[in-house]
Structures are given as structure tokens and as C-alpha cells.
Amino acid sequence: MRVVIAEDSVLLREGLTRLLTDRGHDVVAGVGDAEGLIGAIGDMAAKDELPDVVVADVRMPPTHTDEGVRAAVRLRRDHPGLGVLVLSQYVEEQYATELIAGNSRGVGYLLKDRVADVGEFVDAVARVAEGGTALDPEVVAQLLGRSRKQDVLAALTPREGEVLGLMAEGRTNSAIARQLVVSDGAVEKHVSNIFMKLGLSQSDGDHRRVLAVLTYLGS
């Protein structure tokens, strides 16, 4: 897949490039700030050579606050097919809500630390590139923790709680099965139980499923 990296620390930019290239992906551009990112994507869109996914840091020059989130929101609005994965030193549920804003297609929001687990990280980038979702477990934990529907959530079995968390992170049933070391069938049963207990209608597409869960937790 074709990747654009926006990260102001040269060390990390080089590291990410090496990591993705090593796995056979194509890093087509590396930029150091949000303006450069939007410019680069604009140029590529003009030539009809849009990348599959953008990996962007939240804090970038000039203000070093939340440029990355704002640029990501704008890119997602301007180029609906583009996957955007935002990396951050901290994850805050607020930013996740802003990023998703009613559309969990091709969006990711992860802690920078997750880069340490190379395999999982590259999987997440690929998932976002294909239009899936990758939410950091910590964001999901925040969402689960502050959801107003604690009494309903308490009705889930511990295993169902785990499955719900992984589902909210954007994982497919088979990925959840691999993670929990159970069969696909067992996961499917848990998922339908969860949807029944939460009163949600069973939806087919993985990203729509994530959106349903997030909407449920956030409301």
C-alpha cells in the first residue's frame, strides 16, 4: 500500500518509514508539519495519485498542540476514500470523537507506543488503508468507563466485555478470535449476544459495526 507520513521528529519519521518499507509497503512522502501534509495530499489528488493511508502525528509545528487532528479531520472531509491514522503521545476520547464524527470508515487513532508492537501496528495501518477502523484500547477503555449505560454494560459477561472492547477498537471477528485464542464461531456467538443485550441491530460491515458500538457508548 502507498503511505504518506506526517511527523515532525525526523527520528520517528525515519523509523516509521523503515518499518513500513521493511514490510513491503511504499512510503511515497514524508512531511514535517500539517500544512506540508495537506499540500502534499492536494498535489497527489490533483495527479489522481492519492495514497491509501496517511499516518499523522497529533503535535506538529507551528503550535505543537493538535494540528494533526485538525489536518486529519480536514483530509477526511476533502478526500472521503483516504484512510487517516493519527498517532499521539496521549489518547483522549474527545479527539477520537472529533476524528470519527459519524463516519468510522478508514480512520485510526493510536498511541505512539503501539509502534513498539510492529506486527499489530502494521496490521492497524493496513486496516485503516482498507477502510477499516483502528482505535486505541485506551480510548475504548475511556469510552467504556464514561458511558452512561453502566448498568447495561454490567450485564455483559467478562468475556463479552473483552469482545466488545476489541470490537470497538475496530477488529474483525477473526482478529478477535485470534487475539482471544478462541474459534470464529465462539466470537460470533459473543457478538450476537452483545448486540442483543445492548439492543443494537446486527450490522454486517465491520466499520458500521464499530460505529454502532461507538454511538451506543457515546450516547
Binding site: 496521549y90 483522549e92 507506543d113
Partner: protein, 439 residues
């Protein structure tokens, strides 16, 4: 039993009305002594102030004038400090020493300049002058009334001496020089005289109190620190709290770095070093060590992140109090409802104080309250930002010195803020804090 007895004594004492007790109380006599001493001291101070000031003014045409006047002011300050000691000993009036002289330049000139510029010096000189007429008046009134009062009251005890040792049977009330005169000598007359004396003594005790009160006002008004100086010293102590807090925070950060991330990085370096050595001979063990190192580095990253959030959370800078507090609430162990109603964002410093105040209160709830739910409310009320954190836990929060809440109150005090804790045992805790708004 001892307690009961003590209590009984106290009650008996209070059965005598204050009006009758006053003449015999130590306080009245100490105040009388103060008024008595007023006269000689006031004379000394007045003579000193007037003579030295006249001398200084007279000498102004020469180079000696200014130093003499400055010396006069310095002397007045010295006399003032003696007066404060006298007022503390006899009037029980605790007046703090005024702000010390701020000599900015060295040498005689700097000292003279500082004396002339300080309002305190002039107030002390004014005291030396003004105190004199008042001291004369208070001395005369109190001595005449007090001496006559006691003299008449005690008349029955010495009337016999007049009869025996003088040619009069008692006090002569009037006489026309022709042998027609009236002496106070019958038991009834003596009793009436004594009664009049008693009335005067009772009244004078209160007159003495009134006079001493005026002296108290003179001392605290002219010899104490000015209101501005009091505020300055308050701010100085506040600055002390801020500096102490900052130093304590730095120590905490250093300790956390040292015990946490730094230690993990050392372990990581060690694991990697070992793995490097084993790489050739035992690749399996090397792989295990690299795996351990990988785990260490992830933990170190997490610790660094928590530490950085504790120093200043990024979301507070980026999005303000509302999102920052709701993120904080999400991390609390009990469900917390956070409501932030602010028209605009306050200054970053105020946001930081509000954030860390709520953070500490929520930590208290997690640790001590055993609550099932809590709420955080933030709103603005007339130039102040109000924070309220409530829970439905066990209550009875410790607000004594050295407790976390007392420390929090100190820190809020340093920005002119207030902390009110309401925590009846068994009925939850509500902590309200207010801090001046700065936009």
C-alpha cells in the same frame, strides 16, 4: 470530680456582674498603670520630638540639618518599638512591627533618604507629638477619679485617725470661718460618703477602659504596619507557598523519573547488553531477553506518559477545561458526571489550577470516599471561577494541618482562592473552591 469542681468555681465567679467586678480586675489596674506611665513617657517623647525637629529644621541651612532630622525619625522609630512593648505588656495589644526600613543605597545618604521616604518614620514622629496632649488629659482624668473614688470608698477605715490625730472629727464639707461648719462624722454620713466613693470607683473602672481604648487605637494606628505593608507581607508568604509547591513538584518529578522510567531504561540496557553477548552462542536465550527488553521499554513509555500528563495534560492546553475534566472524570474509579459551564476560556494558569484541584479531589474520592458516584461542576460567578466536587461516600474528610485538603487550601490561598469542605460523617463530601477569574 475535679472537673465538676472547676466548673462550679467558674460559675460562681460569673455570678458577680461585670460592672461590679471591673474595679478589682487585673486588667483595670494594668490599664490604670499604663495611663499613669503615659505622662512621664509622653513628656519625654514630646520634648524629644519637638526639640530635635526644631533643631533639625533650624540646622537645615547647614549640611547637618538633614542628618539630624533623619536621626530624629530613627529615634522616633526606636521609641515607637518601646511603646509597642509597653502596649503589649499592659494593654494586651499585639501590634506587629511595621515594615523595616528599606535602605537601597549604602552610606549615610541612602539611610537618610530611606528614613525620609518611609511613611512609618513620619507616623512614629507624629505619635510622639500627638500622644502628649492625650496623655496629659488621660492621666489627669484617671488619677483624679481613681484616687478620689478609692479615698471616699475607704473613708470608714481611716475616719477614726482624723478624729484622734487632728483637731477635726472628719472631713469638713463646708465651713464659714465663724465656727459654723459641717463635718462628716456620724455613722450615717460616713456610710453615705463610702457609697458615693463606691459609685465613683465603679464608674471610673469603665472610664479607664475607655481611655485605654483610645491609646490602643493610637498605638495600632500610628505604630503598626500600614495596610499596604500587611498585604505585601501576605503576598510574600503566598509566594513562599508557591515556591515551596513548585520545589516539591520538581522533587516529585525527579523521584518519579528516577524510580520509574530511568530504572526501566537501565534494566532495558542490561537486557539488551546480555542479549548481544548471547546472540552467537545461545540465540534462543537472546530472543527471550530481547522480548523482555521489549516489555520493559513499553512500560517505560507508559510511565513517561503518565508522568507528563501529571505535569501538564496536553488536552487542557488544546481544548480547555471541559474536555480535560471529562477525560479526567473518565479515568476516575467511580462514575463521575462532569459539567463545565464557562462562557470563555480562562487564563492558562487558572485552567491549570482548576484542573489540578479537581484532579486531586477526584483522587481523594478514589482513595478514601468509598463513593458510588461523584460529580464535578465548574461555572463562573461574578469574576470568580467556581469548582464543586461532590460524592456520596463516607464523608468525614480530614481537613487538619498536614492533610491533603489543607495543602490544597494553602495552594488555592496563594492565588487568592478559597476552599470550603463540607463533609459530615456518613453523608458524603462536597468541596467547593473558588478562584479569581482571569481571562
Amino acid at each position: 470530680m475535679a472537673t465538676a469542681d472547676g466548673h462550679g468555681t467558674a460559675t460562681r465567679l460569673h455570678r458577680v456582674p461585670a460592672a461590679l467586678r471591673a474595679p478589682l480586675e487585673g486588667r483595670t489596674w494594668r490599664e490604670f498603670l499604663y495611663l499613669l506611665l503615659n505622662l512621664p513617657i509622653a513628656i519625654v517623647m514630646f520634648v524629644y520630638a519637638v526639640t530635635m525637629t526644631s533643631l533639625g529644621v533650624g540646622l537645615l541651612v547647614t549640611f547637618l540639618g538633614l542628618p539630624v532630622l533623619a536621626g530624629t525619625l530613627a529615634g522616633a522609630r526606636g521609641l515607637g518599638s518601646l511603646e509597642r512593648v509597653r502596649a503589649r505588656a499592659l494593654l494586651g495589644l499585639d501590634v506587629a512591627a511595621p515594615e523595616p526600613l528599606r535602605v537601597r543605597k549604602g552610606g549615610l545618604l541612602g539611610w537618610v533618604g530611606a528614613l525620609f521616604k518611609s511613611g512609618v518614620s513620619w507616623r512614629h514622629l507624629l505619635y510622639c507629638v500627638l500622644h502628649f496632649p492625650w496623655a496629659v488629659f488621660a492621666f489627669c482624668v484617671s488619677v483624679v477619679l481613681w484616687v478620689n473614688g478609692w479615698g471616699l470608698l475607704l473613708y470608714p477605715t481611716y475616719q477614726w485617725a482624723l478624729e484622734r490625730y487632728t483637731d477635726q472629727p472628719g472631713f469638713q464639707l463646708w465651713g464659714d470661718g465663724n465656727g459654723n461648719s459641717f463635718y462628716v462624722d456620724t455613722p450615717f454620713e460616713i456610710a453615705v460618703t463610702s457609697a458615693v466613693g463606691l459609685l465613683i470607683v465603679l464608674g471610673t473602672a469603665w472610664v479607664i477602659r475607655g481611655l485605654a481604648q483610645v491609646d490602643r487605637l493610637l498605638v495600632s494606628g500610628l505604630l503598626g504596619p500600614s495596610r499596604l505593608a500587611t498585604r505585601v507581607s501576605e503576598l510574600e508568604s503566598d509566594r513562599g507557598v508557591v515556591v515551596d509547591t513548585a520545589a516539591a513538584d520538581l522533587r516529585r518529578i525527579e523521584r518519579n523519573l528516577h524510580d520509574g522510567a530511568q530504572a526501566r531504561l537501565v534494566a532495558l540496557a542490561m537486557d539488551l547488553g546480555l542479549a548481544k553477548e548471547k546472540l552467537q552462542e545461545d540465540p534462543e536465550a537472546a530472543a527471550r531477553m530481547v522480548d523482555e527488553a521489549h516489555g520493559e521499554v513499553k512500560l517505560a513509555l507508559q510511565e513517561l506518559r503518565d508522568l507528563a500528563r501529571g505535569i501538564h495534560p496536553a488536552i487542557l492546553t488544546d481544548r480547555g477545561l471541559g474536555p480535560a475534566l471529562s477525560a479526567l472524570a473518565a479515568r476516575c474509579t467511580v462514575p463521575v458526571k462532569a459539567t463545565v459551564d464557562l462562557p470563555t476560556r480562562p487564563a492558562p494558569a487558572i485552567e491549570g489550577i482548576a484542573y489540578f484541584t479537581v484532579s486531586e479531589l477526584l483522587q481523594n474520592i478514589s482513595k478514601h470516599a468509598r463513593a458510588s458516584r461523584a460529580s464535578v461542576d465548574v461555572w463562573r460567578a461574578e469574576g470568580r471561577i467556581m469548582l464543586q466536587v461532590s460524592d456520596d461516600g463516607v464523608g468525614g474528610a480530614d481537613t487538619g494541618t498536614g492533610s491533603g485538603l489543607a495543602g490544597l487550601a494553602d495552594r488555592l490561598d496563594s492565588v487568592d482562592g478559597i476552599l470550603v469542605v463540607e463533609s459530615p460523617a456518613g453523608r458524603g463530601t462536597t468541596v467547593t473552591a473558588e478562584v479569581p477569574w482571569r481571562g
